[in-house]
Amino acid sequence: MKKFVNDPKQYVPEMLEGIALANPDTLKYVPAYNLIMRADAPNQNKVSIVQGSGSGHEPAHVMVVGKGMLDAACPGDVFAAPPMDYVYETAKLLKSDKGVLLLVNNYTGDRMAFDMGKEMAEAEGIRAEILTVNDDVAVQDSTYTVGRRGVAGNFFVIKAVGAASEQGADMDELLRIGNKVNDVTRTMGVALTACTPPAKGSTLFELGADEMEFGVGIHGEPGRERRQLKAADDIADDMLDAVVTDLPYNSGDRVALMINGLGGTPVSELYILYRRAHQRLADRGITVGRSYVNEYCTSLDMAGASLTLVRLDDEIEGLLTAPAEAAIRVF
């Protein structure tokens, strides 16, 4: 296993400790619940925004805790939803007069943990609401599943409700905004390699030298189908077609375009995909109002990328461009 790891069981706690050491003034780490929270949270004049999910998606979500983003993140182990306990204790620690908004990616495990954690928190008089994100167009047949997965589009919901909550929006307003953003957000992902969970020590699946997985989620699981590896432009076209036709996004639309790296793909390649997607959107009469090319929501060290579109209007664009702070140092 080509990883910087000590005891795999300490992978998540040691990472979280590192984050806390690197951000002593702004973040607080509560080891008992894998909890990373803003040092100044909870703020009674602001809805607390909390995201839970499995680990292995960094920088999501523990590294986007900060002003204008999340008030806290309580991850589970690698690719495992947090135990209900973490959710419950997090809600208690983040308790605010204006309520606690729990952002949940739509997976069975996450939903169960949050439903149960929310119930327990409510029993103690905490107002908590759940907002579910499900942007993944790779999941087509929702009768066979719990519905579409929440993947990288999650970032936009966090950013929008994070900004709005900072501006004083109440719970109902945040639910409206979060659902609105989720409704106009669509993502499609592709993997060129499988990832290696530290506790497993080997790749989750095998991919031939000329194969890729089309329609992957963010948990290292295989995708919708295995395909022949193609040129970057062709892959970008396939991802874009799947996304554009789904909402659909139409000529005249203004969008945010995200090319998200899955962990093992260098940013240079992401820009090659971005170039094509931007050009093809222009061909369709769709304007990119804001671009995102980076790692936002990864699958450990998986080589691959996802493409997300968000249909913008003035409200959403204003929230996306509002100031924010995150524990990711660019300069």
Partner: protein, 214 residues
């Protein structure tokens, strides 16, 4: 053995099996899942064993419910809530019975199954652990009705669980992460179902030894 000792023995067997099979269960979940099933179960049951001696043993039902609370609150992933609910429901069905009859065990398993169905919004045929749990409970019920002894009934139940777990290989997953791969989930067994089979086999084996010893 009284009811508390029996449930203690069963839970302990489940925990030991989960911990020992961490890698195997994880590998099963890797095929069309995300590979964390073995890890989640093992870490969770380790935590249960850490506080093992302090768990309230006033009666078998209480003991099971306390275990269920630890499991559902401390195990991550889908398995925490699913398994925790199963233990909670089984405990409720058990109550303060002093001795466990075969009928009572069947009732406890049925309660656990109903809990899982409700919690997971799933059913037989979805390629989950239910596809081992339900057939094995059916078989146990048959054996009990036919008047079989505990040891024989458990052995038969374990055989049914193994057979049913193997049979999940031909199914398409409709719940859980494996469901996202659709048709591709065919051809490999469900990790949760196989875990149920391996655990039940273990209980059957150790029950024989234990029975011989006590």
């Amino acid at each position: 053995m009284n009811a508390v000792a029996q449930t203690e023995f069963v839970v302990r067997s489940i925990a030991d099996t989960a911990i020992e099979n961490e890698k195997y269960f994880g590998d099963l979940d890797s095929v069309v899942g995300d590979g964390d099933f073995g890890y989640s179960l093992a870490r969770g049951f380790e935590k249960l064993l850490e506080g093992w001696d302090g768990i309230d043993r006033s009666d078998a039902g209480t003991f099971l419910k306390r275990c269920g609370m630890v499991i559902s609150s401390r195990i991550g992933g889908t398995s925490g809530p699913i398994w925790g609910t199963a233990f909670l429901r089984a405990g409720t069905a058990c109550g303060d019975a002093a001795e466990l009859s075969g009928e009572q065990v069947v009732a406890m398993l049925r309660a656990a199954i109903d809990g899982i169905k409700a919690r997971g919004q799933s059913d037989v045929g979805d390629k989950t652990l239910l596809d081992a749990l339900v057939p094995m409970t059916d078989r146990l019920e048959q054996e009990v009705k036919a008047g079989a002894g505990a040891e024989d009934a458990i052995r038969a139940m374990a055989g049914a669980a193994r057979e049913a777990a193997d049979a999940t290989s031909s199914m398409v997953a409709k719940r859980g992460r494996a469901a996202y791969t659709g048709e591709r989930s065919r051809g490999s067994v469900d990790a949760g179902a196989m875990a149920v089979a391996v655990i039940t086999e273990r209980i059957s084996e150790t029950w024989q030894k234990q029975g011989a010893a006590s």
